[in-house]
C-alpha cells in the first residue's frame, strides 16, 4: 500500500499531472520559435534562446520548491535578475556600441532625422494604450515596442511595469523577427517605383578624429537631454569609443563578442522562461501583441513619410525607403530596406545608408525610453 501511495505521490508531482492547457499552448509556441530559428533561420540569435526558454519555463512543476523563475532563490530567478534589474540590456548596448560603425551616419548626418521620425510609433502607441485603459506605466512600456528594440523595451518595462516583461519582450522580439513580413508591404504601399529607385550620393571619407569625437558628443548631448537613458546610451557610446579608439582593441573585441553573446543568451533564455502560461496567457498579453504590431507598423510608416516630407525641401532627394530603417532593429530593417531597393533597381545599394538610419534609430529609441521613464517619475 505504501508503495502505491509513494508512486501516486510521485505521479502527482510530475509535469504530466500538473500540466494545464496554458502550458501546452506555450509549449507549442516555444517549439514554433525553435522551429522558426533553426528551420527558417528567422533571427536565430533571438528566437532560439527565447523559444527554448519558453519550453523550459512552461514545464509544469510543483510550486514552493524554488524551481520556477518567479520563485525566490531559484536558479532561474537569479538569472532573471539581470532582466528585472535592467543589467542585461545595458550589457547588450555595450556590445552593440562596440559593433556599430557610425561612419555612414557621420558622412550623411541628415539621415539621423529618419531615426527620430521612426520613433513616432512609440508616441502613437502610448496614446492608443492609454485609450484602451492601460495605466500610464504599462502604456509607456507597451509604447516602447514601437522602437523595435528588444533590450530597450525590456529595460523600460523592468523599470515601469515589471509584471509585463514577458509579453512585452516576446512581442518586441517577435516583431523584430517578423520584419521581413511586416515592413515590405508598408514600404511598398507608401512609396512609388520612382521614389524607390532614388540613388543616394556616395559617402564621404570620415576621419578617425570624427569617429572618436562622436561618441563623446553623443553621450553628453543625449544623456543631458534624457538622463534616464544613461544606463543604455552610456554603455552604448562607451563601447563605440573603445572600438574607435583602437587602443583597447582587446576590450572592444570582448565587448562585441563574449560579453554581448553572454548577455544575449541569458536575456533570451530567461525572458522566454518568464512566459509561464498561468502568468502570460491573459487578455492583457493579447492587447500588448496587437498594440505592438500597431506600434511597429506606425514606426515604419512614419519613417517613410518623414523621408518624403524631407524630400519636399531637399535638393538631393533621399530614397524614402530609408525611413523604414529608422526603427532600431539592427540590422534587420536595414537589410530589408536594402532588399526592397534592390528589387526595384538591382544596381541600387542602400545598405550603408540604411545602416546609418538604423544606428540613429538605436539612439532615438533609447532617448524615447529615457523620456517615457521621466514622464512616469512623480
Amino acid at each position: 500500500m505504501e508503495l502505491l501511495d509513494l508512486f501516486l505521490q510521485f505521479v502527482t508531482n510530475t509535469g504530466f499531472y500538473l500540466a494545464d492547457y496554458r502550458n501546452i499552448i506555450m509549449l507549442v509556441i516555444g517549439i514554433l520559435f525553435v522551429y522558426l530559428a533553426i528551420g527558417k533561420e528567422y533571427e536565430p540569435l533571438l528566437l532560439l534562446p527565447i523559444g527554448f526558454g519558453v519550453i523550459v519555463g512552461n514545464i509544469p512543476f510543483f510550486k514552493g520548491f524554488g524551481i520556477g523563475i518567479y520563485e525566490a532563490n531559484s536558479v532561474l530567478h537569479y538569472l532573471y535578475f539581470g532582466v528585472t534589474s535592467g543589467v542585461y540590456p545595458s550589457i547588450v548596448f555595450l556590445g552593440l556600441g562596440a559593433m556599430t560603425d557610425f561612419s555612414f551616419l557621420l558622412s550623411n548626418p541628415k539621415l539621423m532625422l529618419l531615426g527620430a521620425a521612426a520613433q513616432m510609433g512609440i508616441f502613437f502607441t502610448l496614446l492608443s494604450a492609454l485609450a484602451l485603459g492601460f495605466p500610464l506605466n504599462e502604456a509607456s512600456s507597451i509604447a516602447i515596442i514601437g522602437g523595435a528594440d528588444g533590450p530597450t523595451s525590456i529595460f523600460l518595462t523592468a523599470k515601469l511595469a515589471p509584471q509585463l516583461i514577458g509579453p512585452i519582450a516576446i512581442a518586441a522580439y517577435s516583431y523584430m523577427a517578423l520584419i521581413p513580413i511586416i515592413q515590405p508591404p508598408i514600404m511598398k504601399l507608401l512609396t512609388t517605383q520612382k521614389e524607390r529607385v532614388i540613388r543616394m550620393p556616395d559617402l564621404r571619407e570620415v576621419s578617425k578624429k570624427e569617429r572618436l569625437v562622436f561618441p563623446v558628443v553623443g553621450t553628453i548631448l543625449c544623456c543631458f537631454l534624457a538622463p534616464a537613458s544613461i544606463p543604455l546610451l552610456g554603455p552604448f557610446f562607451f563601447g563605440n569609443l573603445m572600438k574607435e579608439s583602437g587602443v583597447v582593441e582587446r576590450l572592444a573585441q570582448t565587448a562585441r563578442t563574449a560579453v554581448i553573446d553572454t548577455a544575449t543568451i541569458f536575456l533570451g533564455f530567461t525572458v522566454g522562461a518568464s512566459t509561464q502560461g498561468d502568468v502570460f496567457l491573459n487578455p492583457k498579453s493579447i492587447g500588448i501583441f496587437i498594440l505592438g504590431a500597431v506600434a511597429f507598423s506606425i514606426a515604419t510608416a512614419s519613417g517613410v513619410i518623414f523621408a518624403k516630407i524631407m524630400n519636399l525641401f531637399l535638393k538631393h532627394k533621399i530614397n524614402p525607403l530609408l525611413g523604414a530603417s529608422g526603427v532600431s532593429a539592427v540590422p534587420g530593417s536595414a537589410r530589408e530596406v536594402h532588399m526592397m531597393g534592390l528589387r526595384s533597381d538591382p544596381t541600387n545599394y542602400l545598405l550603408m545608408h540604411a545602416m546609418a538610419c538604423n544606428s540613429s534609430g538605436v539612439i532615438g529609441s533609447a532617448i524615447c525610453a529615457g523620456i517615457l521613464w521621466s514622464f512616469n517619475m512623480k
Binding site: 520613433q119 485609450a131 502604456a139 578624429k209 558628443v217 534624457a226
Partner: protein
C-alpha cells in the same frame, strides 16, 4: 477609464507632443553638430600644421634614406607595391600598416614613413594617401 477621456486624464496628448518634439529636436541638434564636426576638426588641424617647406624632389629620396631608411627606397617600394594594390586607390596608412603586419614585413612603421618621406605615398588630406603616379 478608456478612450479620449483616459488619454486626457493621464495627460497623454501633452506627453506625446512633448516626447516627440524632444526626440526630434535632440537628434536634429546632434545631426547638426556632427555635420559641422569635420569642419571644426579641419580648422583645428590647420592651426596645428607646421608651415610646409618645399623640398626639391631629388632631396626627398636622399633625406629619407638619411634617417635609417633603406639606401635604395625602390626595394621597399617593390615590397609594398602588391600590398598597396590590394587596397583601394585611395587608402588609409593604417590599412597599409595592418597589411604589412599581416604579411610580416619587417619594420612596417619605418618603411611606410620612408615611402612617405620619399614622396612615393602622396597625402590627400584627412589621413588618406595614394601611390604617387
Amino acid at each position: 477609464m478608456t478612450g479620449l477621456e483616459a488619454i486626457t486624464h493621464h495627460n497623454g496628448w501633452a506627453m506625446a507632443v512633448v516626447g516627440a518634439s524632444i526626440v526630434i529636436s535632440g537628434l536634429a541638434i546632434l545631426a547638426f553638430i556632427i555635420s559641422q564636426l569635420h569642419k571644426v576638426i579641419g580648422l583645428l588641424e590647420k592651426k596645428k600644421e607646421p608651415p610646409v617647406v618645399e623640398i626639391p624632389e631629388e632631396n626627398l629620396k636622399e633625406s629619407a634614406s638619411a634617417e635609417n631608411c633603406p639606401a635604395n627606397i625602390d626595394v621597399t617600394l617593390e615590397l609594398y607595391r602588391p600590398l598597396i594594390e590590394e587596397l583601394d586607390e585611395q587608402f588609409q596608412l593604417a590599412d597599409l600598416y595592418a597589411l604589412a603586419k599581416k604579411y610580416h614585413l619587417p619594420h612596417p612603421h619605418l618603411s611606410i614613413r620612408c615611402l612617405r618621406d620619399a614622396g612615393i605615398l602622396n597625402s590627400l588630406g584627412d589621413g588618406v594617401f595614394r601611390l604617387a603616379a
